[in-house]
């Protein structure tokens, strides 16, 4: 009785074990655009593009450069990028290996210019900041400004009428 040991793939499905390190995937709902994965990636498969005119930040992942080490998954603060189980990544064009996540940058309420960090990064920071130490009103004034405006308004406490509140009073709603 001869036992056939050859796998029937590709005519039959093959699934990698659950511990397998397949191609990475960024969950667009969780990514905050911090770029920690970009700093940790050894072959620079993840890049970041900032466009201060249009106010967008892009995290670009190229799976064809990825060595599947898993450092991005290890350092991601929001658990957005994870190595999946997928190993069937062969393709005829290299464009199919690209994933782009485009996020909006924070717009300063005072001068209207775009800052370098995204809105989501500010939201995450708000969730981590200790509520016991800070006040809602003080935070609400300062957190929606760019660095230069923060420096300039550091001494005065007033809130100008011309400031445009793009984000409303979000701090209260997050901290409730």
């Amino acid at each position: 009785m001869v036992r056939v040991i050859t796998v029937k793939y590709p005519l039959k499905e093959a699934k990698a074990p659950e511990e397998y390190r397949g191609i990475p995937y960024i969950d667009p709902q969780r990514c905050i655009g911090c770029g920690a994965c970009r700093n940790a990636c050894p072959p620079n498969a993840i890049t970041r593009e900032i466009d201060l005119e249009k106010g967008i930040k892009r995290i670009v992942l190229d799976v064809g450069r990825c060595i599947r080490c898993g450092r991005c998954e290890e350092v991601c603060p929001s658990g957005a990028i994870k190595l999946t189980n997928v190993f069937e990544a062969a393709s005829r064009q290299r464009e199919n290996h690209v994933e782009i996540v485009e996020l909006k940058l924070l717009r300063c309420s005072r001068c209207g210019k775009y800052t370098e960090f995204t809105e989501r990064q500010v939201m995450l920071a708000l969730e981590i900041l200790p509520r016991e130490v800070l006040e809602v009103e003080a935070l609400d004034k300062r957190i929606w400004l760019c660095r230069d405006c923060r420096r300039e308004t550091a001494l005065s406490d007033a809130v100008d009428k011309e400031w445009k509140w793009y984000y409303g009073k979000l701090v209260k709603s997050i901290w409730e």
Binding site: A16, P42, G70
Partner: protein
């Protein structure tokens, strides 16, 4: 003016001090088993020769040789010979260093006395521009032939990503335009290069051999010194070799942990040891398959690789990938060994042991295998010691060396195992050493799983001192692996020097080949277990008639397989 370290100095340091008195500028103890002697460059050769001949009954060989451009730090370049002094219970690495001024980059070559220093000096000459005077054979080793003179990649003023050479090309050299050209071999290039091995023969007997390699020189050392951070170098170290990559990653981590004074948790060391032994089993099974194929036993090849598949599947469940495990970080490992993974290890190892013992029975009782491997490629003990041959090749010639016993690292001091030793120095001895090492590895894995401790798997560290140096070493399946690391500033390594064991073993191949026939050559070259792509092309030059023919790997290997059929 000698700065003394009088306590715990070993005997050899004392004797060097006595012999050379004021020619030694300084002696520093880096760590418990690593010493550094600084001397004038004119006496470098004398000190190294003195240490190498200090005692003919201990095993001493060149561990590695590092040339470093330290001009940003202290305005000079340095040359350091690290010698591995092996004594039971107190082995150590003794480094002998000389500093060279920028306008006087020469020193007396040591390859005149120690044949094992040949390639190190050729490399330092073309990568840094330091000239060893009176070197017997100062040709290009690593860089392509069209690389311009004066561009030294490892100097600090050379940008890591710019290359001064244009598209590398070769030209045909026609002696006589009326003769017909018959293309031989797969690459169809001029008859001069790029053969890996060039055998000089008289009829069927080999009288000389020349090696040209390093086709996979990717500039790893320079990349680690410029673009990568400390943690990222782990991953490039793993891709130095696709068969023994985890040993390189571990050696680098151990060097960094030594420098930073990090204490790795015990459980992490056990996991590292487990993965190192798994890698050893898979590498030796790979070699047994290739050796059987060369001897003509095609079924042996398939059998060995079938057993090896189980190990690859096990590694996939434990680490996430069949090869390039990516499990090391400075301070520990990245994935834990949960209970169900431990059970998987035990089940797989039992099955492998059963199938492997059957396979070895068949192999050992196969007369053609024994007769083909016996008494060819003999490397006697004194030559093996002079060239500093390592690993199973060295142990097959009677050298009692094994980094796991001499310089215990990871958790090898907690497990019990033997080192197989054979004295004949032929291909069969090396095969037997590897066969027995697999059984020892299986025994080590069983002990590790039984007594694995609990606790953390990675240690935190805050600061790594700048411009400190150290050595990290492991026993790869092919021999001893030594990494030299000097840390720099801003989270970037200053100097990273890798010395793989095949580097030392390949230098002894011409000695092993001379006197044997061409049909034996594939087996002899494969017996040192070089990286598989080393023997892609071979040129055979008949000295008497001047004829040369170039063979592809398959054709070259067929010579050996056909000879087996004729002889059995």
């Amino acid at each position: 003016m000698v700065s003394l370290e009088t306590e715990h100095e070993n005997d050899y340091i004392k004797r060097i001090k006595e012999q050379f008195k004021d020619k030694i500028i300084g002696i520093r103890k880096l760590y418990d088993d690593q010493w550094l002697i600084i001397t004038e460059k004119d006496y470098l050769r004398d000190v190294v020769r003195y240490l190498a001949d200090i005692n003919s009954s201990t095993e001493i060989h060149i561990a590695t040789m590092v040339g470093s451009d330290e001009r940003p730090i202290r305005g000079k370049m340095s040359v350091t010979f690290w010698m591995n002094v092996i004594e039971s219970g107190s082995s150590s690495f003794v480094g002998i260093r000389a500093y060279l001024d920028e306008d006087d980059l020469e020193y007396e070559s040591i390859a005149q006395d120690l044949p094992g220093a040949d390639w190190y000096e050729r490399e330092i000459h073309e990568m840094l521009g330091i000239t060893p005077r009176n070197h017997p054979n100062l040709k290009r080793l690593i860089l392509p032939d069209d690389w311009p003179e004066g561009a030294y990649p490892l100097r600090k003023d050379f940008n890591y990503s710019e290359s001064p050479a244009k598209f590398p090309g070769y030209s045909f050299t026609y002696k006589d335009s009326s003769c017909a050209i018959v293309p031989l071999g797969p690459y169809h290039i001029s008859l001069d290069e790029p053969a890996h091995f060039r055998l000089y023969v008289k009829g069927e007997e080999i009288i000389g051999c020349d090696y040209k390699g390093f086709y996979s020189h990717r500039g790893i050392e320079k990349l680690a010194e410029s673009r990568l951070t400390y943690e990222q170098v782990n991953f490039i170290a793993e891709r130095i070799c696709g068969i023994c990559g985890y040993t390189h990653s571990t050696a680098y981590c151990q060097a960094m942990e030594r420098i930073a004074g990090i204490e790795v948790p015990e459980r992490a060391e056990y996991i590292r040891t487990l993965l190192l032994e798994i890698e050893r089993i898979h590498s030796h099974l790979l070699w047994l398959g290739i050796a059987s194929h060369l001897v003509g036993l095609e079924s042996g090849f398939m059998d060995a690789w079938r057993i090896r598949e189980r190990i690859m599947w096990l590694a996939e469940r434990l680490t996430g990938n069949r090869k390039t495990y990516g499990m090391n970080l400075i301070g520990g490992v990245r994935r834990d060994l949960l209970d169900y993974r431990k059970d998987l290890v035990m089940k797989t190892i039992e099955k492998v042991k059963e199938e492997y013992t059957q396979f070895v029975e068949k192999l050992k009782s196969n007369r053609s295998f024994i007769r083909r491997c016996e008494d060819i490629g003999v490397l006697p003990y004194d030559k093996a010691r002079a060239y500093g041959v390592l690993g199973p090749t060295g142990r097959g010639s009677g050298r009692k060396i094994d980094t796991r016993k001499d310089h215990p690292y990871a958790s090898y001091k907690d497990v019990d195992f033997n080192i197989p030793l054979y004295k004949d120095g032929d291909v069969l001895s090396r095969a037997l050493v590897r066969i027995e090492e697999v059984l020892e590895s299986i025994w080590i894995i069983e002990q590790l799983i039984d007594s694995m401790p609990g606790g953390d798997i990675i240690a935190e560290y805050t600061e790594i001192p700048q411009f400190s140096e150290g050595l990290g070493y492991t026993e790869a399946p092919r021999g001893e692996n030594v990494h030299y690391v000097m840390t720099g500033e801003k989270n970037v390594v200053y100097r990273f020097r890798v010395r793989a064991p095949t580097y030392a073993n390949l230098q002894a191949v011409p000695k092993m080949l001379s006197g044997y026939t061409i049909a034996d050559a594939p087996l002899i070259i494969a017996s040192i277990d070089p990286c598989y792509s080393c023997t892609e092309r071979v040129t055979i030059i008949d000295v008497k008639s001047g004829k040369r023919r170039t063979l592809s790997e398959d054709e070259f290997n067929m010579l050996s397989i056909k000879a087996s059929r004729r002889r059995s």
